[in-house]
C-alpha cells in the first residue's frame, strides 16, 4: 500500500517538472470550443480536474478524463458540482493547478464554493458553458443569462474576474489566461462560454507550447514562521505556500487576518475586504481586455460579447459596405467591466446597440456608465428563447437608427 502511494506522488511530481509533449494533431485542428478549453487547460498546466457531467460542458470532462492520466494529472468525477468546486479548491491549496467545468444548474450549486475560493484567495478556474435558464431551462440551447451571476452569484461582496471568448481559438487562449490570472491573483476565475461556442467547430492553429505563456503562483521564500498567508504588497499579489511544504498555514472561510486566522475586528475585516477589492481595481489594465473594431469614425456602436459579437461583426461589415459609420466594441474580460472603454464609446457615438441573449444584463452596465445619453440612444436587443439574434436583425436595427 505504502509503495503504491509513493508512486502516485511521483506521477504528480513528474508532471510538475516535465511539460508533456503536445500531440501534433491537436496543434492544427478542427476543434469544438469545449475541446479548445480542455487543451488550453492542459497547456496552461492544469493538473487537477474535478467535475460532474452536465450539458453542454461535458466534453471538457470527457477529454480530460482521457488526457490527464496520460500525464499524471488527476481527473475525478465527483458526486455533484458542490463537491467539484470544493475538491479543486482543496487540490489547489495542495499545489495543483485546478479547474472544473459546468453549466447553469451546476454553476448555481457552485456559488458558495466560489465565494470560499475567493475569500481564501485560492487559485482555481470554473468554466461555465452557459445554457438557457432559469432552472433546467433548455439544456442544449444558447443563452447569455449568467453574466450577472458570474459576478454576483455568491453572497457578499466578492470582486470577480470573468472572461468571455467569442471563438474556438479564443476559448483556448482565454482558458490559458483564466488559469494564469487565477494563479497570479490568487482567486477563482470564471470563463463564460456560449453553448454555441462550446459546440461550434472551427479550424484553429494552436501555438507551439514553447510560445504559450504560463504563469504560476509565486512561492514564499521566507522561513515558515515569517510566512503570512495573506501578505500585503502594492499590487496585492502575495506568495502562496502549499500544504505539505512546511508552512502549516490556516485557511478559513471566516473573515480573517493576514495570517488567515478568524477575526471579528472591524479594522482587520476592512483590510481583508479591501485586499479582495483592490487586487482587482488596482490591476484593471492587466485584467481588462477589449476588442474595438471600426470605432474611429463610428456614430453607431454595437456592444456585444461572445457569440453575439460574431453576429454583430457580420452586421457591421454589411453596414460599412453600405456606408454606415458603425463599429463594434467587445469585452473579452466581462468582469471587471471595461468601464473606460465603454465611457469612451459613449462619448464618441450617438447610439449604442446592445444585442444579448438574456433579458438585459450588459445593458445595465452601459446605463451605469451613461451620463448624458437618453434611453433612446441606448438600444437593447434581447432574445431569450433559445435562439440567436441574427446578423440581419442587427443590421436592420443599425439601419433603423441610422
Amino acid at each position: 500500500m505504502a509503495t503504491k502511494k509513493l508512486k502516485s506522488t511521483e506521477y504528480l511530481k513528474s508532471l510538475v517538472k516535465t511539460e508533456p509533449a503536445p500531440e501534433e494533431k491537436h496543434r492544427i485542428a478542427l476543434l469544438q470550443g469545449n475541446q479548445a478549453v480542455a487543451y488550453g487547460a492542459m497547456d496552461a498546466g492544469v493538473n487537477f480536474f474535478a467535475g460532474y457531467p452536465i450539458t453542454p460542458s461535458t466534453e471538457i470532462a470527457e477529454i480530460l478524463s482521457e488526457e490527464l492520466p496520460k500525464r499524471g494529472g488527476v481527473y475525478v468525477q465527483m458526486e455533484d458540482e458542490i463537491a467539484s468546486i470544493c475538491a479543486i479548491t482543496g487540490a489547489s491549496l495542495t499545489g495543483a493547478k485546478a479547474l472544473t467545468a459546468t453549466s447553469g444548474p451546476g454553476f448555481s450549486l457552485m456559488q458558495e464554493g466560489i465565494g470560499y475560493a475567493k475569500i481564501t484567495e485560492t487559485p482555481c478556474v470554473v468554466v461555465n458553458v452557459q445554457r438557457m435558464g432559469p432552472s433546467t431551462g433548455m439544456p442544449t440551447s444558447p443563452a447569455q443569462g449568467d453574466i450577472m451571476q458570474a459576478k454576483w452569484g455568491s453572497h457578499g461582496d466578492s470582486p470577480a474576474i470573468v472572461l468571455y471568448p467569442d471563438s474556438v481559438r479564443e476559448s483556448y487562449e482565454l482558458t490559458i489566461r483564466a488559469v494564469n490570472l487565477s494563479e497570479k491573483y490568487r482567486t477563482c476565475v470564471i470563463l463564460l462560454l456560449d453553448e454555441v461556442i462550446g459546440h461550434m467547430r472551427e479550424a484553429v492553429t494552436l501555438p507551439d507550447l514553447a510560445n504559450v505563456r504560463v504563469i504560476s503562483r509565486i512561492k514564499p521564500t521566507v522561513p515558515p514562521h515569517w510566512y503570512k498567508h495573506y501578505d500585503e504588497n502594492q499590487k496585492y499579489l502575495s506568495p502562496l505556500a502549499s500544504y505539505g511544504e512546511g508552512y502549516r498555514f490556516h485557511v478559513t472561510g471566516l473573515t480573517h487576518d493576514s495570517h488567515g486566522f478568524p477575526t471579528n475586528k472591524p479594522s482587520e475585516a476592512h483590510e481583508m475586504m479591501e485586499r479582495l477589492r483592490k487586487k482587482i481595481t488596482h490591476n484593471i489594465r492587466d485584467l481588462v481586455q477589449i476588442e474595438s473594431r471600426e470605432m474611429e469614425d463610428a456614430k453607431i456602436a454595437i456592444f456585444a460579447a461572445g457569440i453575439m459579437s460574431r453576429a454583430a461583426k457580420q452586421a457591421v461589415a454589411q453596414a460599412r459596405a453600405e456606408g454606415i459609420p458603425v463599429g463594434i466594441l467587445r469585452p473579452l474580460t466581462i468582469w471587471p467591466f471595461p468601464d473606460d472603454a465603454v465611457r469612451k464609446m459613449l462619448r464618441n457615438v450617438d447610439t449604442v446597440i446592445v444585442p444579448e441573449l438574456n433579458q438585459g444584463q450588459l445593458i445595465h452596465e452601459i446605463r451605469r456608465l451613461t451620463k448624458d445619453k437618453s434611453d433612446g440612444d441606448l438600444i437593447s436587443m434581447q432574445r431569450c428563447d433559445g435562439a440567436l439574434i441574427t446578423p440581419n436583425e442587427i443590421l436592420r436595427k443599425i439601419k433603423e437608427v441610422h
Binding site: K4, L12, P69, G72, A83, G90, Y243, R248, L254, H259
Partner: protein, 279 residues
Amino acid sequence: MENIPQKIIHEYLRHDKKFPHVWCAGCSNGIVLGAIIRAIAKMNIDRNDIVMVSGIGCSSRMPVYVDFNTLHTLHGRPIAYATGVKLFKPHLKVIVVTGDGDCTAIGGNHFIHAARRNIDLTVILINNNIYGMTGGQASPTTPHMAIATTTPYGNIEPDFNICNLAIGAGASFVARTTAFHTNEVQNYVRDAIEHPGFSLIEVVSSCPVIYGRLNKKGGPAEMLKHMRDESIPLTAVDKLPKEKVEGKIVRGIIKRVIEPEFCAEYAKLCERVQAMGGE
C-alpha cells in the same frame, strides 16, 4: 494509559494565536482534540504531513487551534475539500473533523461517496446529537422524541446509525466510542490513520450547554458518566442478553478490511494508461 506528557499537547497548539477557544466549559470537543494530538504525537508523524480539514460547527472549529496544515471549510463540505487535498498529494495524512449535522445532514452525499471510493481519509465525527453552533436545532442523530430548539414537542424523526451508514456506503474502517473513553478515541485515531482506506470514527459526545440542558441530562460530568454507564464494548454484545444490549452505545472497531484504496487505484490507472504508450 498512553503516557504523553501534557507539555507535548501544548507543543501542538497554536498558543500565541488562537486562545482562548470558543468551546463552552464542559464540552466534549476539547477531550477529542486532546486524544487526536496524543495519537499523532505517539505516532510521531511529521506535522507538516498532516492536513486537518473541517466543516462548520462547534466541532469543526478544531483545526484553528492545532499547528498542522489546517483547512476550515464550508458547512458539510470538508470531505469534498479533503478529497482534493488527498488526491493531489496522496502522501499527506488527511484528517477530517466534523459534526453530526456537518457530516450526515448537509454533507451526507460527500460522506457516502468518499466511503464508496474508499479514499484514504480519517474522518472523526463528533456526534453530540444536536446542532451546537447554531444554538441547538435537531440534527439527523437527535434521538427519537428528544427536545431540540426546533423540536419543542419532541423529535418525531428516527435518527441515523452513523456507523451502519458508513458500512453500507463502503467505508473500510468503522469504529465507535465515546468522549468518556479517551484512550479508545486515541487508539482508534491511530488505527484509522494507519488504515489505508476510508476510516470513520464516531465519537459519541456531549453538548451539556444545549442538548444536556434541553433534555435534562445533567451537567458535563453526568453526561460523561452516562457515556460510561450506557455503553458496552462490541466484544460484550454477543455475551450479554438482548435486553442488556438494547439502547446501549456499542463501542469498538466495527469494520476493518483492506480494500482497494482510491488514490492507489488512480495511480495504477495512470501507470496502465502510460504503459499503453501515452496515446
